[in-house]
Amino acid sequence: MTKFTRRDFIKAVSAASALPLIGASAQAAEPLKVGFIFLGPVGDYGWTWAHNKGRLELEAALGGAVKTTYVENVKEDASAVPILRDLARQGNKLIFATSFGYMDQVLEVAKEFPDVKFEHCTGFKRAANVSTYNSRFHEGRAVTGTIAGKVSKSGVIGYLGSFKIPEVVMGVNAFTLAAQAVNPKIQTKLVMIDSWFDPAKETAATETLANLGADVIATHTDSPAPLQYAQKKGVFGFGQGADMSKFAPKAHLTAIEDIWGPHYIARAKAAIDGSWKSEDSWDGIKEGAVKVSAYNASLPQDVQDAANKIIEGYKAGSYDVFTGPIYDQAGTLKVKAGEKLGLGDLATIDWYVKGIQSA
């Protein structure tokens, strides 16, 4: 029995619409099979949801030239190995592993299939047929930090984090430095909830931050629950990973959107035309991998202008939130005036900047 799902329908339609584009020269070519493994369910409305959106964009853009497969809810342990191996055996020639914890499993399977190209998201170990890719989300956090610094009346802003890992540390640092640039007195209260996804705890933590005086609260966890609480309480927040304005039309000032589609399209094209090489890519606002959503209409023009200036600065390469002087919490100078933290330093950062109150 064949099941015809909505997904198949999208595939069929996008394949059909691409037909006239392929032309005579490509007619003989087999479609490139592209596999994905996802950490969460595609319905998480967060990390995996954004990756799956990138996969759908890839299908829409290349149509019949690619055929994609995905496996969701893949644990970051040894069970990822047989799944990766199966994808390779099924003829997938390009495989994306979309979470940090798949690092060694990808390298192990890549050794067995030298003609299959692997791409590992947020990792740092590469091989001849293994690339790594990531996004500079902290650029988006420099934009939201600028808005938070301008909007906060109490001078206290909140940051809801998951775990103390470099990605979150650079996020709260970028957010705080940008807020301090527009309001030097800003203090950031940081709470780590030891989870990426726990709407009840995220809500309680947002409530806690608001009760302790924070009037703008950014989230580095995955659910829209903090925004819903912010809306109820009359404070402000930002969408994480996707535009979440429909969850909190008043509280949602803007969002940082993860856009993986362009990377997937570029790499699939490279695999098709033979130009694919092992590399490390870390794209940001300039490349379109990190997008700032539409501003809330209530945001004053001067705040929007200040935020746009950061975006333009990143696009032009003239701005970097991690430009010195930067002090750590104890007041030690970590980055001298005029110097910058490089991507290498950020990839392993484990200290908070001055003005962050953390436990």
């Binding site: 969460g40 369910p41 319905g43 998480d44 409305y45 949801w49 909140g158 103390k164 209260k189 940081l190 709470v191 780590m192 909830i193 030891d194 989870s195 996804f197 726990d198 709407p199 009840a200 705890k201 995220e202 809500t203 309680a204 933590a205 409530e207 806690t208 931050l209 009760n211 302790l212 659910s223 829209p224 629950a225 819903q228 609480y229 109820k232 429909k246 969850f247 909190a248 109150q357 953390s358 436990a359």
Partner: protein, 307 residues
């Protein structure tokens, strides 16, 4: 520390305690009947999506709560058929029920991702519910009042009524209860279905009040804390209420300590603490003699008449 702040903190505590208190109250009745249902998390998730979906489709939150209750009871009835009528292992079946609940709720919920509903508000007039002091009494969702009334009613039922005595008899000595003519299997069916209905309501609290949206596995393991709580409370309703609020205070303390910049303990220790305390209390209870805080004697054992 102002009065307003203290009330704010209490509101946080009450909010995070309520779904755990509800789920644990339902499970208490189930375990009193001599059945252990480890599928609390799964039944909660079924209630989470049922309550959300029905409220979204009909705009009527009361209908949503009713369907969440029926959905939880329905999931529990599947469990009851397997363990009570077919004699399946209770622990294994309960775990399977959790996995089933996760899968079923995700399947139904796939059409409800990215949608929000209006949260269920206090049943009292806004003048009372939003008043700066009286909100501590009147400012909560109906789930909060229901949870407290329910656990007190369960305590009264178990200890003071004839029907409660029969329930305890079935849990303590099923063969004796059977020999004097009580329908052991039917009573256990009723207890399991009741536990499921209450777990369904507990689940609806997540998707209709705490964060009025649907997301896969949004209960994030609270069902397991509820199970631990029943043990922690020594199968007594009064202690269950106190224990649930003790867990709630710990969770709030963790967040306020971290947000104030005084962790007191490492973050991981905070996360492990509810479980750690449950283990310690369990060890203390089992090291003491007497009838205080003992598990029902037939807990987890299949009922085999004339066996």
């Amino acid at each position: 520390m102002t009065l307003t702040f203290i009330i704010d903190v209490l509101v946080t505590i009450i909010g995070i305690t309520t779904p755990i208190l509800l789920a644990a109250s339902g499970e208490l009745v189930v375990e009193k009947s001599g059945v252990i249902n480890l599928g609390v998390e799964g039944m909660m998730l079924v209630g989470t999506i049922a309550g959300f979906a029905v409220t979204f489709e009909t705009g009527n939150p009361w209908l949503g709560i009713l369907v969440a209750m029926l959905a939880g009871a329905g999931a529990a009835t599947i469990f009851a058929v397997l363990v009570l009528s077919l004699g399946a292992n209770q622990v294994a079946t309960g775990l399977a029920l959790t996995i089933f609940g996760i899968g079923l709720s995700s399947l139904i919920g796939s059409n409800y991702v990215g949608i929000a509903i209006d949260p269920v508000e206090s049943p009292f007039p806004p003048a009372l519910a939003n008043e700066s002091f009286w909100r501590i009494i009147f400012g909560h969702s109906p789930f909060v009042y229901f949870a407290i009334i329910l656990v007190l009613a369960i305590g009264w039922f178990i200890n003071k009524t004839r029907a409660g005595l029969v329930l305890r008899a079935v849990g303590e000595n099923d063969l004796s209860a059977h020999s004097i003519g009580y329908p052991v299997i039917a009573i256990r069916y009723a207890a399991v279905a009741f536990g499921g209905a209450i777990a369904g309501i507990a689940g609806a609290d997540f998707s209709m009040v705490i964060s009025p949206l649907w997301a896969e596995q949004m209960t994030a393991g609270r069902g397991w804390i509820a199970l631990a709580l029943v043990v922690f409370a020594g199968w007594r309703a009064g202690r269950l209420l106190a224990g649930a609020y003790f867990f709630g205070v710990l969770m709030a303390l963790e967040l306020y300590a971290k947000a104030s910049g005084h962790a007191i303990f490492p973050s991981q220790f905070w996360a492990a603490m509810p479980y750690l305390i449950a283990v310690i209390v369990l060890a203390l209870i089992s090291s003491r003699d007497g009838k205080d805080g003992k598990a029902p004697a037939c807990l987890g054992k299949p009922f085999i008449p004339n066996g």
